[in-house]
Symmetry: D2
Subunit: 152 residues, 4 copies
């Protein structure tokens, strides 16, 4: 199995545009046969995990503390007790990282991902050189499909 | 899903007693419906993962470097790039830790596990106070069955 | 003692503008009585440490691997063996972070620093919202002086 | 400068035997010109840091959380936010590790230290093969003096 990581805004609510896009991202990842890895908590992480379960996939949540407090759509919980440093683990887990929105935590993950030579595809996220960034959901999802054809 | 971690000697070869016992441990974990988490490499880690796959289970390998270099029985690879500190992640992942043989790396994991209040059950491993330790394979596996009835 | 962290481009050579500015930053940190913390290697890290030693200060290098391979201007070497995750440690060490140039590693540090609520002052670095960023060396150093008047 | 790490029981009180021995250890480390590195908190860590300051030395505390909450004898505070994983950092910092008493956290550190090929000298601590262990304070301190003659 190969992983694809989803990172992004942990505060968006169900019904918001970013939540809906993250849900589609998760579903698409699962349907292509990848394991979804994320930070295990809420907002974009929850939406992507929910989408992945809807798509019949497996979900892994790499959690900040020692508690098993993932959102209900996470199959495998990996508590770390490393807080900020857990961001490194999320991006190290995958060759392709999908960023949906996001604030400073997401920015740190984008930095680590690009440093590690990962492919980063973003939707309405930090416009960092090296990130393939989109602001039209349809074009983003179409490009994502193509990117997920990668073979390790 | 809930995880059970297996730690131990990374150098034992197929055919050795510790390898065989770790294989049985992995099978038992899988048959009880738990996800097997381990360090993803060789020896006891490989044996337990092989057993878990034979038992129809899911296996997660938390790897020391950034490479996806797990043994062939690992389903989900989590590279960390944190080397020694990855030992903390292995034991943080689970409420029950099974130690089969093992040297100083295993010792560090036993220390972290007991500090974090985890249950540690061992077979021919470090005789540390707080570890439920066995040297008869049959009695060990019988006790393991009982321990895996835990409910979180 | 209180720490101030310097992050930035690890590849700039002595004689380049960023090297010279980082040297001044290090000297200024030392003269104000702060401990300089950095990643311990080359480029901006070396320049700042060299400046801090010239300013009579103490320097700490938080290193990526397990080797004691800091530049010659580091007094206290802290090897981590955590590679990317060591970036978190550099910014966690200080309430004020100074960024001089820098690529993706620096970007990850800026993300972590802002997430942790640190003050980030930059010279010709990533133009991230929340970073007080300058491109004129004199104005930058003058503002730095003021920022280092902080009291914890 | 070269570091020597002191690990051990975080709960012993001033006036207890372990506290007094750790104080002597710290003083001795400082007098030989080494930097004392420890976990920065209380008990043995505080005693060793206090001794090192009395010996005119420099002290570094590698802290579990993000708070700057070291004991008053720590010069350089390194908050990590990595909790258990900070134990790895304490032992990675030094070629010689001194253990005074200690429970499961100390056990994890001894495991990591021996795995990393460090020299571990202990006083009334875990009787692990590979640890040079003493239970007579005078003999322990005499041996420590000799061990600290090491050259890197």
């Amino acid at each position: 199995m190969r992983n694809v990581a989803v990172i992004g805004d942990g505060n968006v609510e169900p019904g918001s545009e970013l939540y809906d896009v993250a849900f589609e991202v998760g579903k698409l990842i699962a349907k292509r046969g990848y394991v979804l890895v994320c930070g295990g908590l809420y907002g974009v992480m929850e939406a992507a995990a929910k989408g992945a379960k809807m798509g019949g996939g497996l979900t892994v949540g790499i959690l900040p503390g020692y508690e098993f407090n993932a959102n209900p759509y996470i199959d495998v919980q990996i508590p770390t007790g490393m807080y900020q440093a857990r961001n490194v683990l999320v991006v190290a887990s995958s060759k392709v990282i999908i960023a949906v929105g996001g604030s400073y935590g997401t920015l740190s993950e984008i930095g680590h991902a690009l440093k590690l030579g990962k492919k980063v595809i973003g939707y309405k996220t930090w416009g960092i050189e090296g990130v393939e960034c989109f602001s039209d959901a349809k074009i983003f999802l179409a490009n994502l499909c193509e990117a997920l054809e990668f073979r390790s």
